[in-house]
Amino acid sequence: MILRRIAAILFVPVMLAFGSGVYLYLGTLKSKVVQERPQLPTVTKPKFVLPGTMFVVQEGRLFKLEAGSFTEIGPGGEWSQPTLTPDHTKLVAVLRTGFSSDLYLMDLGGHVLKRLTKNDSRYIDYNHWAFYPRISPDGASVMYSFDSPKVNGVDLAVWSMPLNGAQWQARRWTDPYSHTGGDVSPIPLASGGLLFVRHSIDSSTVVHSQIYFQSRALGVATPLTPEADDCSQATLSPDGTQVAMVCTHGKQSASLEIASFNGSALGAPQVLVDGGLYASPAWSPDGKALAYFGPQGLAGHFQLWWLPLPVAATPSPSIAAAPSTSASARAASTVAPTPAPVQVTEGVDLSATSPPAWF
């Protein structure tokens, strides 16, 4: 009898431990996707060593990826969209503060050299946004998207200002479609022209994105991609003969495509990968591969991916002079036999709206 009581008393902690064990075990069954919290790039090791040096952004912090490891650069704040000067000695990046954003020139170590714009105001309506800086091939000016004038709502237009000048010297390049958010992602061309992405609306009230070409400030803008393809986030290859872009074709997934570019028109596009959430492609320094952002898993944080381009898939630079805006041109698009993309980072949360700056 006494032994039984002792056994019963001793069994109580076992029961408590078992009950607690069940409780804790159930906790371990939680979805890993939900549990997953991103890490800073600096505490991760890329799976793949990319050539050259790349600048990326996570949660407003600038990171340099070089020789297979990340280093954080720059002062605190909400930074985004770094872009390189043509000589690869400086960066221009966007800093969001409160209800505005400004462009800053910095060295490759992230030290601010100059504030290029001043868009903040104590009066909320007088604040402005500046996004998507891109420096001209001659290094003389910086093009960017700027929400002025605010006549019909708030829409971004492409503006240009001298890199060594002042904001009052900036001049507007494009006239955006009102109330669609406007014109973004400018790419100044060596010819003095401009590639950019315009958002417009069709007769059935669907908003589209298209890549446009414009030869001079406030000149006529010519669409290079059809409305239905919803192409955006264009980026020019280092030799200026190819454009990589993300096209959604009206869907909630995208294809990553490349097309040859002759300075004012695109050739037939080639689909490299399809059916994913691809964002912000960037050309490798040698132009033989692309890097882009895509989520890890079904609906995860965005990681860096690497996609080598097969030699056969590289479009010929000899293309038709006319812009390929017709449906027939798109019908000629092909799915290239591209090698499988390689995931470079794991467990981080890179900003998919900040294209990598890579040299």
Partner: protein, 315 residues
Amino acid sequence: MLTLFCLLLSGTAGAAAYFFPVVVAGVGQTGQTVVVPPSRSQGTASTPMPSAAPGAPFTVLLLGSDDDGKNKSPLTQSMILVRVDPASKHVTMLSIPRDLWVPLSTGGSAKIDAAYAYGGAAAAIATVERNFHVHIDEYAWVGLKGLIKLIDRLGGVDVLVSNPVLDDEYPNDINGGFLYGYMRIAALPGFQHLDGTHALQYVRSRHNDINGDFGRSARQQQVLLAIKAKASTLNAADLPDIVETLKGNFTTSMGLDRVRSLLGVATAFDLANVKQIVLFVPTYTSYDRGAAYGGQSVVVPHWSQILAVTRANFP
């Protein structure tokens, strides 16, 4: 034998403790009884809200509203009619414009977002049922803060922002302070991972959208699908956290059985099986303002076109 029984008992106690918040929420936040009130305007009889048979298609009215203290009775910022077919895993979503001028179940005519303010979920359901000629089996209400917390708890959602969403008059009312203040927001285009705060900004902004509230409706459906995609990664062990997150920011008439059924559809998530409908101008609606509408800017329904859509998609 006794040892096994005791271990089973302690294991059950451990599991019960783990799922206790779900049980509490099941009692407090799900299975809300709603009695659809009689319509003063149309004189129809009061009808309780019946439920579709288990496994059969059912229709849910999703309601999203301020819970910021601006109004004692908040207006709905979002009204989405969702038909779920658990067998075929098909989902149909129809966004109802908040400015749609309709006869309210509580009497008189007003923008449809006032129905919830005047009579809660019951009035919102009755108003939608009587105007759209649909039967609603269930409703679910989520507050703005609840949406933020839910998305954050899910670890964020992946969304395609189709165009820059810029708004100089976005309500600055989530974090306290002056409830009628406003702020500037900018959501840049492209695929991206949004946390709760930024996802709410994306679905709530409407001042610079060329499609006004219709554009916002489309964005709301988009984020709803993103939440559904993320929910497909959940399992039963996640429920206590989700329930804790939504505490006080979520009520529904659905019982736990139906919630499980919805999770089943989410698990078999396929965008191709989701049909999205927005009642765009000019086909389904038109803009108007004037004395007939109390001087307000309203959206006037084109009922013949709308009812054709609801008949086809919400039988």
